[in-house]
Amino acid sequence: MTEAFRRLLRTPQGALSIALLILLAAVCVAGPALAPYDPEQIDFLGRFSPPGALHWLGADQLGRDVLSRLLVGARSTVPLALLATLLGTLGGTVIGTVSAYLGGRWDEAIMRTIDAVMAVPGLLLALLLVSTLGNGSFNAAIAIAVAFAPGMARVTRSVALTVRNQDYVKAAIARGEGGGWIVFREMLPNVVAPVVIETTIRVAFAVMLFATLSFLGLGAQPPASEWGLMVSEARRYLHQAPWIIIAPSVAIGLTAIAFNLLGDGLRDALNPRDER
């Protein structure tokens, strides 16, 4: 694992993504301590202050400090996006592996159903679910997890099927190993790497989806300093104070880029063929 990490750092995408993610993690942990102001402190005199010495990234329509809101807001986006992706991966991996293991008619039926569910766009499915579960950050995360599960199931299954047809798995079957050993010791270690890569890239999607739900008013609720919500609230002032929009937009973009880069870096680093 350390070897793979070293290889990851050697790729340009890997190094850049790790740098961005360390920054992101620091902001998630120490955001409130770093923030120069209380993110919810309203200051009517300071409304729409442009970026300057007092407010590095300016102030918003209620005079709240944009930088402070960004720093605190990382907490309300990134951990939930991670949680959503992990839950979705977990569900999808179980469905995909079981489907590949059962094979035959069951596999066919499960996959056709997954394909059918995937005809509903992820965002729409998430919207429907949130409207059922009720607005809020945590429900948004659950909705994203459910929306992700079919796609992850598909990815896991195709990887698992490839692995299942490898000769070392056949060798295990031929010597009479039980299902547990075959799935957990022979197959799973070889399925993990591609699934991890896919999961990483999906975290970027989750960050974007989560912000989108908040933007549509179904995720985080005011006065939370969630990034998508910040963009949504600032939209009306795009003429007067573009910085209120640009700052959280950049934050969302950088976070997604970090996970996309990490996924690509891992793809190169985890390929066992290059492990020489």
Binding site: V120, P121, G253, N260
Partner: protein
Amino acid sequence: MSASWLLRRVLLIAYTILVVSLLVFGITQVLPADAAVTLLGENATPAALEAVRLKLGLGDPVWLQYLRWLSHVLTGDFGVSMRTGQPVGPEMFAALSRSLLLAVGAILVMLVLAVPLGMLAALRQGRLVDMFTSLVSYLGVSLPEFVTATLMLMLFADRLQWLPATGYVAPLEDFWDSVRHLVLPVLTASVILIAHVARMVRSETLDVLHSDYIRAARLKGLPEPVVLLRHALRNALLPVVTIVALDVGYLLGGIIVIEEIFALPGIGRQLVVAITARDLPSIQAGALIMAATYAVANSLADMAYAFLDRRIRYD
């Protein structure tokens, strides 16, 4: 492409619609909404509410309600909107046609930009064009539509005043004005597609360029333009058909946000409105129509692929 292959596709579409209808009906059943209250308003008398419930069959078992709804849907009757009192079907299909304008526009823009960009990046691997493509790809897939849309509005509608910010004009009404209104939504919708497809085209082209038959073509003494255009292009573009088909799902999702921001009265905006208003028949119809669109688009892509790639035999 034989008859049995076509039959299989049709059955798959039917199965998709069946699964989606169950899914959507299931979710909307749990929605905390009382259709009777939505229809009559909060001040209705309990007796009136009860009468409506009886009329709508809301007291029946869920499966019976589902079957009744499905059988109506199959005859083209999607029910009546709780919000407007109008039949949902015609409203949704009209909205769909406006959304398709946006979606097809985005796919066309994507094809025009992403395919040459991806191929150029592959041919000039490691050079400036390649790095530019890679940057565009990373930016494109990392910015959600609402961010791209807002930034576009800020630049083209607010600062430069080149284009109208929001609204929709039917093409038959005033063609050029219609186009002007569509430019920003179409561009926004195409950004992620461009990013994704350019990347795929690049890697597919690289694979093809490293293939034995391209080497063979070069070693037959064919000049490079002939090698690229006659031998490489078609093979590199084939998988793009599949990628685009899968991206239609993503595009339909993106449309929801984009229509909301640009106040474009398409099916996505109808759905957001319906969800906020808890207008069950509209939600069900909208989601079902969207999923069916996706399923049909995918089947069309499969057919296109089969037509282009003669190696695939559907029996």
